[in-house]
Symmetry: C2
């Protein structure tokens, strides 16, 4: 009888710690954050925090995993409501190109910047990023309804995700929403023209 | 007789400090770097360093300016040797999409990450980045030989530069050269198809 609620409590605690960690990294950067600070933000005792996540690296690994998955789930859910055909492409492009404009990208960028000079954090991030990247690619192919066997399709889908990250950077220090909207429109038209022949749905 | 060499020495000192600063920021991040450390790396006395650049922010401003300009000069010089016509587009796309894969982008990213949580650094970076961004856009239009009055041309050039920054991010923690090469090829073909009608040279 006791087991189930305890497991649930444990899951809630993990989730609160992960969310607090990403908030803290986004606001203060890697060097300004300790597990103790994250525990305080999450309203969790320092001991409990260290039981779940002995190091900041462990927290980062769990966070990238959970939040990457959550983001793609949301993308899938929102896309499920979209109509088929041409306006669908523009809506999907809009969603994908907006993927990296939120506070989570800001936090991830702090980690990337640090990882580029910190071997330990890099070793944690590289395989995680590869997996999240592959998943994002798979979901984008699925949402666009394109056939990757078509010439250049794979590269154009990858370019769409690279563009999304570039737009995330451009949105980091200033609000780039207006300019991004115009790029969304043009990119959708471009994809439509290039992928038109190979689209499967 | 004494004036000219002194001015030259002063310019050399500034340049050495700027280059040392970007190396230091790239390797250790913003928080791991002081003006004293930069002076040591540059082989310049701490007093001389502080005479030229009283703060890290002043160094950053000078660095973004000088290095942004140097990068675009190099782009122009290399592009001057390219033939006109179709292979030219692919070579220009290759150059532009490789723009942000060097150690300077790594250093700039450290600064961006910090600026996203540091109001003072942000105030220095935002106007500089806007100017460097406008210049990069102008040079890319010139090198591609396209007419910005054409529908969608402006957005496609901007997307090319945003894509370049996204590819810079993708290259930060791992060597992404091979994948990038395929994206260059596909993006060149795409630009060619979309811009074909409006190209002026």
């Amino acid at each position: 009888m006791l087991r189930e609620p305890q497991q649930e409590r444990s899951r809630t605690t993990r989730r609160r710690l992960i969310e607090a960690a990403m908030e803290c990294f986004g606001e203060r950067g890697w060097h300004g954050v300790t597990v103790a600070l994250i525990a305080e933000r999450a309203g969790v005792s320092r001991g409990a925090a260290q039981h779940h996540f002995p190091t900041r690296e462990a927290l980062v690994a769990a966070a990238v995993d959970l939040l990457g998955e959550a983001q793609l789930d949301e993308l899938r859910t929102r896309a499920a409501g979209l109509p088929a055909g041409s306006p669908r492409i523009e809506r999907v492009v809009e969603m994908v190109l907006n993927l990296y404009t939120g506070p989570m990208f800001r936090a991830a960028l702090q980690l990337w910047a640090v990882a580029s000079t910190d071997e330990q954090l890099r070793a944690v991030l590289v395989p995680l990023e590869a997996r999240v990247g592959r998943e994002a690619h798979r979901v984008t192919v699925e949402l666009l309804g394109v056939d990757e066997a078509g010439a250049g399709v794979r590269e154009l889908v990858q370019a769409t995700l690279d563009l999304a990250r570039g737009l995330g950077l451009a949105n980091l220090l200033t609000d780039d929403t207006r300019r991004r909207r115009q790029i969304v429109r043009e990119w959708a038209a471009t994809l439509e023209a290039r992928l038109g022949e190979t689209r499967v749905s």
